[in-house]
């Protein structure tokens, strides 16, 4: 029997799972059973491969990931010429794990961690996210090619905001 609120509960569970560091989740309740895995090799199709790094692989661009209603000053978000239509279907969007200031280089004047067209390997540093002078490197959870950088250097990004589009190997 489907309980009231069941679809919402399932949706929440899926969202939580995709945000978590979990690799596998098996739920059994009555005659209902659900198995979730991030392991592609298991033959259960998964939207995107996952690594163990902080980089989360999230929804495709066009998902309402940007902050809403920014009447004061526009949130520096997607670069205008990079719309969802420009991105190949297989592009993976790497999002900010939390709010912070986005830096493309390890320090002012230094070379950027990554450039458009550049190759990245799983575990490579992509950018820094600063929260109150605490700089945390965001690492790639996937190997591939940087297709687009979606945020200006030095901009404040929201938690979950798309930062890079990557075409995986």
């Amino acid at each position: 029997m489907v309980e009231p609120g069941f679809p919402d509960a399932l949706k929440l569970l899926l969202e939580e799972f995709s945000r978590s560091e979990l690799c596998e989740l098996h739920v059994r309740r009555g005659d209902f059973e659900l198995y979730l895995s991030t392991d592609v090799a298991r033959g259960r199709p998964q939207a995107a491969p996952r690594g163990v790094s902080a980089a989360s692989v999230a929804a495709p661009l066009g998902h309402p990931a940007e902050a809403q209603g920014s009447a004061i000053e526009p949130v520096p978000a997607a670069v205008p010429d990079r719309t969802a239509a420009d991105l190949p279907a297989e592009a993976i969007i790497i999002t900010a794990p939390n709010l912070g200031t986005f830096y493309r280089a390890p320090k002012p004047g230094a070379a950027n961690y990554v450039e458009v067209g550049g190759r990245i390997a799983e575990g490579d540093e992509l950018c820094l996210i600063e929260v109150m002078k605490l700089f945390t490197a965001l690492r790639a959870g996937v190997s591939g090619t940087i297709h687009a950088v979606l945020v200006e250097d030095g901009a404040m990004v929201d938690g979950g905001q798309p930062l890079f589009a990557v075409v995986a190997d």
Binding site: P4, G5, D8, A9, L12, E16, R19, P64, A67, Q68, G69, S70, A71, I72, E73, V75, P97, N98, L99, G100, T101, E130, V131, M132, L134, M156, D158, G159, G160, Q161
Partner: protein
């Protein structure tokens, strides 16, 4: 300097309440949300909303550095912490002060001092505020009898090293005090390795009363009357009223004065609440603690005073003094608030997140609803389960009860179970109507029978 752009570091109905108060003062607002609250009512109404991070509060609403970073980067010069979350953590005003942001609340040192129960008790004592009569350390059974006789029975024997109810015994006379000493002391040795006890008066049927305060930070403190929050379950308030109709006027005046004296003694700034135990049999009140924030139940004080406490909070944080003097605070009528939670009363108050499918609140004279819900709103499972506060104002307590009963009857909520029906059962119960309740009445009297009549 008056605040121009206010950062709202909270969620739910209080975030919406703060945005509205700021807008009434022509102040811009930025609301911080977690990933689970992207579509929040407060965020939509605000000039801007910012996603802090994942739904888990530790990674969003409870991270002071994330919050102050967001406030600073979004150009805010003021920050309102609401209630719960970081509202009584001194690190938040300290970080705000480091970055030139006005904190809507007390000084961090005052928050720290009041948050320490022993320090708060000492401050209350120094200000001449009554505390629960009690003893120093009690070393022998004979001491326990002598102290019990002096304090007055029933008394509670408590482990000095204790907590969590272990090593606690209630004694109703001298013999029980002696016997209780041996038992509590042995329990305390077993549990804490220290058999030292102390004693305090036990109030079996107490009411919870509290005084709404507002200070300018320079020693001037106003009160906005008291609230009675005696309908509780597991120390959680369900219904709050203002004033406390069970308290005679002369005692009420003493209560207000005690609360004001305590707050003035620490140059209290912004909104706060002094909580007391009211022993109705003895007609005495004792200090419990000070909550250094705006409280959930502040609307009942607003209803009887006609005063917007959140707007006053924002003005004071912006450097303005108190906008009125005590003589201007005129209290009239009676107000009641029901906290409506998405909980299943048939399943031991299990929190029941989910989607609200129908939301039709009552309207009418003297009815107020503080809520962030509407039809289609998703209640995420990560936070508390409160969906709204239904508040009524009547000319007296009976009038307010009657209005509340009508308002509850006119409220349609579907999609998730709520405590609305329980509220109806409480406010129409003869004990509540006749005002013969105490802090354990709900658990001892109403709840054991609740649901059986309907079955």
């Amino acid at each position: 300097m008056a605040i121009k752009r206010l950062f709202v570091a909270n969620r739910g109905e209080i975030a919406l309440r703060i945005v509205r108060a700021a807008q009434a003062l022509n102040i811009e607002t930025v609301v911080a949300v977690s990933d689970a609250d992207r579509d929040s009512a407060a965020g939509r109404l605000a000039d801007r909303s910012i996603v802090l991070g994942p739904p888990a509060a530790a990674k969003s609403y409870l991270d002071p550095r994330l919050i102050v970073h967001a406030a600073k980067e979004s150009g805010c010069d003021g920050l309102h912490p609401g209630y719960g979350f970081l509202s009584e953590r001194a690190i938040l005003p300290r970080l705000c002060s480091d970055h030139g942001i006005a904190f809507v609340g007390p000084e961090p040192d005052v928050i720290d001092a009041l948050g320490d129960k022993l320090k708060a008790r000492a401050m209350a004592q120094a200000a001449g505020v009554p505390l629960v009569p009690g003893s120093e350390c009690v070393a022998t059974a004979a001491d326990a009898r002598r102290e019990g006789d002096r304090i007055g029975y029933p008394v509670l024997l408590k482990a000095a090293a204790g907590g969590g109810g272990r090593g606690m015994v209630i004694a109703h006379n001298g013999d029980e005090a002696e016997a209780g000493f041996h038992r509590a002391s042995a329990e305390a040795v077993a549990a804490f390795g220290d058999g030292t006890l102390f004693m305090e008066r036990f109030v079996p049927e107490a009411r919870h009363v509290e005084v709404q305060l507002m200070g300018d930070g320079k020693g001037r403190v106003l009160h906005f009357g008291e609230r009675d929050c005696s309908v509780q379950r597991r120390y959680q308030k369900l219904i709050e009223e203002a004033p406390c109709a069970a308290m005679p006027d002369h005692l009420r005046a003493q209560l207000h004065q005690s609360a004001v004296d305590l707050a003035a003694s620490v140059n209290y700034r912004n909104a706060g609440t002094a909580e007391f135990l009211f022993d109705v049999q003895r007609q005495e009140f004792y200090f419990i603690e000070v909550n250094a924030r705006i409280q959930v139940e502040h609307p009942v004080s607003e209803m009887i005073s006609g005063f917007d406490l959140v707007q006053e909070q924002i003005r004071i944080a912006g450097g303005a003094g108190l906008s009125v003097v005590q003589q201007d605070v005129k209290l009239s009528g009676h107000a009641i608030e029901c906290r409506i939670n998405a909980e299943d009363t048939k399943r031991d108050f299990l929190p029941s997140p989910g989607r609200i499918t129908r939301w039709e609140p009552p309207e009418g004279e003297g009815i107020r609803l503080d809520s962030h819900m509407s039809a289609g709103t998703m209640i995420p499972p990560f936070y508390d389960s409160m969906v709204g506060k239904l508040i009524v104002h009547g000319k007296d307590r009976a009038d307010a009860i009657s209005r509340m009963a009508d308002a509850i009857d006119g409220f349609a909520i579907e999609g998730v179970p709520t405590t609305l029906d329980l509220h109806r059962a409480i406010i129409t119960h003869p004990d509540f109507v006749e005002n013969h309740i105490h802090t354990r009445w709900l658990e001892q009297v109403l709840l054991p029978d609740y649901g059986k009549k309907a079955a």
